[in-house]
Amino acid sequence: MSLTFRLKDFFRRYLPFTRASFSVALMYRTHILLWIFSSILEIGMMMLVWVAVYKNSETGLLHGFALSDMLLYNILITMTFSLTRMNPLWDVAEDYYDGKIAMSLIKPINYKTQVFFQNLGGNLFSNVILTLPITIIFVFTNVLRNSGLILTPASLLLYVFSVIMGLLINFYANFIFAMLVFKTEATFGLFQLNEVIVRIFSGALIPLTFFPSWFRIFAEAMPYASVQYIPTLILMNRLEGNELLSKLALQAAWVIFLVIFTRWLWSRSLASLKVHGG
C-alpha cells in the first residue's frame, strides 16, 4: 500500500519531465524529419553493403548468418537501438556549460532521475515515429513471414525485459561520460569517444560474432553489448538455454554495478561541481 503510494508520487514528480521533453521534441519538426531520413538512409546503406558482401561469399553463410538473417539483424538492431535510446551526455553537458544545472539543483528532485525521465521523453518520441512504423510494416506485410523471424510470447517477453535492462545500462554508461564533462570540460571529445566505443562494442556496426574470438569475448562482456546486441539476439531466437540465462544475468549484473557506481561518482562530482556564470 505505502509502496504503491510512494511509486505514484515518484512518477507524478518525474513524469512531467518526460512529458515536457516529448512536447519539445514535437515542436522541432524539421529536426525530426531529417533525423528519420538519416536513420532510413543508414539502414538502407548497411543493407546494400551486406548484399554486396554476401554476393562475394561462396557459401552464402557468414558466421552462421545468411543474407536474410543479416538484413533482419540490421533492422532489428536499429529498432532496438531506438528502443534503448538514451543520451544524457548532451543534456548534462548543456546544463553544465550554461550553468542551467543550478536551476535543477535548487529543486527537490534527484538530478539523475530528472535527466533519465527527460531522456525517456526523447526515447518515446523516437519510438513513436520510428519503431512503431517499422513494427506495423513488419506485422501487416509479409516481410515478417518471409524473414524467418519466429516470434513467440516467451521471446517477446524476454525481449522486452532485456530491452528495459539495456535502456538502463545505456543511460548509466552514458551518464558516466556526462560526469566526466564536469572534470575535463571536454564535451566534444567525450562525445566522440563515447560514440566510437558504442559503435564498436554494441554490435550496431556488425554482429559481435564477426570479431576474432579474443576481442569478441571482451566485447560481449562490456556493458555496450548488453544494450542492443543481447536483446536483438534474444528476439532472433539465437540465444538458448544456459547461454540465454547467462546473458540476462550479465545484463542484470551491469545494471546493479552501474547504478551503484554512478551514485558514488555523482556524489563526488557534485561536491566539486563548479557552477558557471552569475
Binding site: R12, M103, I106, P108, I109
Partner: protein, 333 residues
C-alpha cells in the same frame, strides 16, 4: 533561521599564458591559482527578516547564495538553513526554499508558461487547492494572466522575471533567495517585483535574502544589509546606520547673477571653525558643503544670501549610491 559560520569557498583556477605558445605550455603544465570567493563569512538571519546582500561584481554574493541553496559545497565552515545542512541534504533543503537567479530562468523555455507552473506543482507536491489560491494571488500582484499561455521564450524580460518569481513562490517556501531579481527591468516592472516580495514577506513571514545592485531595492525592502567585499563581510547592520555615518554631509549650490563671486568669510560670519565648511566655486556657482549635524540649511543659506546676490539654490543630500560606492572602493565601513 539561517546560520552561517566561518564559511569559505575556494576555487582552483588554472592560469594560462597568452598566445599559442602559452596555450601549449598551459596544456602541459598549467599554473594553479586559488581564488577565495567567500572567505570566513559568518552571520545569522532570523525568520521573516528581509536582508539585502550587497557587494561589487565578483565580491562573492552569488557564491554565498549557491552554498546556502546547496548547489555548491563549501570548502570549509558551516551552513544551516532551518536546521538542514543544504549541501548534505540538498533535496530536503530544496523543499523549503525558493530561488530566483535574475540571469537565468527555472521555467521551461519551449513550453507555454502555464505548463511550467503545472510541472512545478507536481515537483513540489502542491495541493490543487493551494495551487489555485496562490495562482490567484500571483495574478493579482504580478498580472500573469496576459501571457500565461505564451511559450516562455517569447516573453519579455519583465514578464519572464514576474513569472520566475511566481514560480519560486508557488510552494510557499520559508526562505526566498533572490539573486539580482530586478536586473535589467524597467521602473514599473521593478515596482511589481518589489510589491510581490513585500506581500509575500508580510503575508507568510517569508525570509528573504536579496542580492542586488539597485539600491532602491534595498531602501524599499530591506531592514538589514550585509556588505561583502573580496569574499569578506565588511558590514552587517541597518541601512540607517550607514546613512548616518556617511550621509551627514550636505551640499548647497548657489547660482549667482554675476560671473564673479566676491570672496567672503562664511565661517566667521556663522561663528564656526573654518573646517566646518568647504567652499568652492566654478564660474557663477558657489558650492558649500557642511555637516548637517553642526549647521542647518537655513543658517547657511541665510549667511550666503546676505553676502551675494543669489538667483537659484539647489540642495544635495548624499546619495546611498555614493556611500556604497565609497565603501566598495575603500573595502571597509
Amino acid at each position: 533561521m539561517i546560520e552561517v559560520s566561518h564559511l569559505s569557498k575556494t576555487f582552483v583556477k588554472y592560469e594560462k599564458e597568452a598566445g599559442l605558445w602559452g596555450l601549449v605550455k598551459g596544456f602541459v603544465n598549467a599554473k594553479k591559482i586559488l581564488s577565495h570567493a567567500v572567505d570566513d563569512v559568518s552571520f545569522t538571519i532570523q525568520d521573516g527578516e528581509v536582508v539585502g546582500y550587497i557587494g561589487a561584481n565578483g565580491a562573492g554574493k552569488s557564491t554565498t547564495i549557491k552554498m546556502l541553496t546547496g548547489i555548491l559545497t563549501p570548502t570549509s565552515g558551516h551552513v544551516k538553513v532551518n536546521g538542514i545542512v543544504p549541501h548534505e541534504n540538498r533535496v530536503a533543503n530544496a523543499k523549503n526554499i525558493g530561488v530566483v537567479f535574475g540571469q537565468r530562468t527555472q521555467l521551461w523555455w519551449d513550453l507555454p508558461l502555464v505548463e511550467s507552473f503545472s510541472i512545478l506543482k507536481e515537483i513540489y507536491e502542491v495541493s490543487d487547492e493551494d495551487f489555485k489560491t496562490r495562482m490567484a494571488l500571483f495574478n493579482e500582484i504580478l498580472e500573469l494572466d496576459t501571457f500565461i499561455k505564451s511559450p516562455v521564450r517569447t516573453l519579455s524580460l519583465g514578464q519572464r522575471m514576474r513569472a520566475d518569481i511566481a514560480a519560486s513562490l508557488l510552494h510557499n517556501p520559508k526562505v526566498l533567495y533572490l539573486d539580482e531579481p530586478t536586473i535589467g527591468l524597467d521602473v514599473n516592472a521593478k515596482h511589481r517585483m518589489r510589491d510581490a516580495i513585500k506581500t509575500m514577506n508580510a503575508q507568510f513571514k517569508t525570509t528573504v535574502i536579496l542580492t542586488t545592485h539597485d539600491l532602491d531595492d534595498i531602501e524599499e525592502l530591506c531592514s538589514r544589509i550585509l556588505i561583502i567585499d573580496q569574499g569578506k563581510i565588511i558590514y552587517d547592520g541597518s541601512l540607517q546606520t550607514i546613512k548616518d555615518k556617511y550621509g551627514s554631509a550636505k551640499t548647497i549650490l548657489f547660482t549667482t547673477k554675476d560671473k564673479m563671486i566676491p570672496e567672503f568669510d562664511l565661517a566667521s560670519q556663522l561663528k564656526v571653525p573654518h573646517d566646518f565648511l568647504k567652499l568652492s566655486n566654478h564660474d557663477n556657482v558657489l558650492e558649500v558643503t557642511f555637516d548637517r549635524r553642526q549647521l542647518s540649511t537655513a543658517q547657511v543659506t541665510q549667511a550666503v544670501m546676505s553676502q551675494i546676490e543669489v538667483v537659484d539654490i539647489e540642495i544635495q543630500e548624499v546619495q546611498i549610491e555614493t556611500i556604497v560606492g565609497r565603501i566598495y572602493q575603500e573595502g571597509k565601513v
